[in-house]
Amino acid sequence: MKQFQYVRPATQQAVLDVINKPGALALNSVVSENKLVADKYPLLAMALKAGASPQLRNMATVGGNMMQRTRCTYFYDTAMPCNKRVPGSGCGAYEGVNRMHAIFGTSTQCIAVHPSDMCVGLAALDAMVIIAGKKGERRLPFTEFHRLPGDHPETDNRLAPDEMIVALEIPDNNFAKNSYYLKVRDRQSYAFALVSVAAALDIENGIIRHARLAMGGVAHKPWRLFDAEKSLIGKRVSEESFQQAAQLAMQGAKGFGYNSFKLKLAPAGIAEALKQASGLV
């Protein structure tokens, strides 16, 4: 058995490698504290810092963060049914205490949410997942890495059993100036998101040229808001256009009782994140 080893960049070049191609083993704390990440992809740094605790970020790797289970409290409670834990056994959350649960992309089999903040940032930033397997390397857009529950909630992502994540690539962008990660949670720190929003805007003379939006705490996977993004292109930075985008993003949302407050919290969060990102506050 080989000894395990974490990667901790020691040289400037190694740091650059982390930025341009965050290795699967790069620690969350190292990536989040890195100056070049902060300068170039502040959204990712903000999302990382919103996640877990300082100690956990010192241990969590980029790949490990991606691979954490989409799960809820019923997944842990062996006295209750869970289609993730025991496929076909039923879902305790569907008609249960589902305050933390999903409002998008749910199935009758599972309404758990993916808990990561980092992944919400990466989904918004069009990251590419580099996967190595027996047949060589393949590339998968980050938004396609995690999957919706459908009839197979036991499968969280599209990584095959004989594959591993080796790196991530984040394309160059002009979002650094106007990025914001909003996380709404029960405590100010160290709690899973009720709703989180990653917002990134490319603004020129008050007009939005490009927009990226993704949400956490609302779906089985990081939830990218493609339609809302499109609606913002060419629009002037304004409360009105942000509200419109937020309403558009909510199409198809469905509450399950305890979590129905998210139907109001989510659009409010989107509008707020866009305001913060654009400096309209």
């Binding site: 605790s53 010192n58 405590r187």
Partner: protein, 214 residues
């Protein structure tokens, strides 16, 4: 066998798991062996031969420095750093609270970086330098953070305190103790059920503003 030690609290659970696993090994190897050579197998089981063999094959060497002292250990691959510190090295200052990364009571420094030792596998620590709460004081002279916790009453029951202090020291070293808000954010991985938070923040602020080397 280290598990013969009398333990209280969460460690008991480990003992139970461990002994039931060994019983399983004993019984399963016994059953297999009985079919072949009954007499010898029964005798081997009585002498705990399988346990002795398993102990050799199941363990891995681990060399790490703990509080400045080199340790050459033999550990099970599944052992956490926390259990190795507490059970094998008798460094019981590091506490086991939740045992799954939620409370921070087990916080130690690995090569100067704070981690949850309950989520750290011992075999990953080869060649690493570990600092626990026992390694902060210099002889009878307490670490400034320990002094500050006493002065500001930064605890009630004290169970979370070793983790709080290890985290607090790291918080200052990382440069994350610039304001009360920042301290609260960067101490959020350490839960205190007695609610000594304001006093903990005061202790950290004093050490930070005192400018002493932590």
């Amino acid at each position: 066998m280290e598990n013969e030690k009398t333990c209280t609290g969460p460690e008991n659970e480990l003992d139970v798991k461990d002994s039931s696993r060994r019983n399983f090994l004993k019984q399963s190897s016994l059953l297999t062996a009985v079919a072949l050579t009954p007499g010898a197998a029964v005798k081997a089981a009585e002498m705990h031969v399988d346990e002795k063999i398993a102990a050799v094959f199941e363990k891995m060497p681990l060399k790490m420095e703990v509080n400045g002292k080199q340790q050459n250990l033999s550990v099970e691959p599944r052992s956490t750093l926390l259990d190795i510190l507490r059970e094998q090295l008798d460094l019981t200052g590091t506490k086991k609270g939740c045992d799954h990364g939620q409370c921070g009571a087990c916080t130690v420094h690995v090569d100067g970086i704070r981690v949850n030792s309950c989520l750290t596998l011992g075999v990953m620590m080869n060649g690493k330098k570990i600092t626990t709460i026992e390694g902060l004081a210099k002889g009878d002279q307490l670490h400034p953070m320990q002094e500050a916790f006493i002065k500001h009453d930064g605890f009630q029951c004290g169970y979370c305190t070793p983790g709080q202090i290890m985290s607090a020291v790291a918080c200052i070293r990382e440069g994350h103790a610039g304001s009360e808000t920042e301290i609260r954010e960067y101490m959020s991985g350490n839960i205190c059920r007695c609610g000594a938070y304001p006093n903990i923040v005061n202790a950290i602020q004093e050490v930070k503003s005192g400018g002493q080397t932590v």
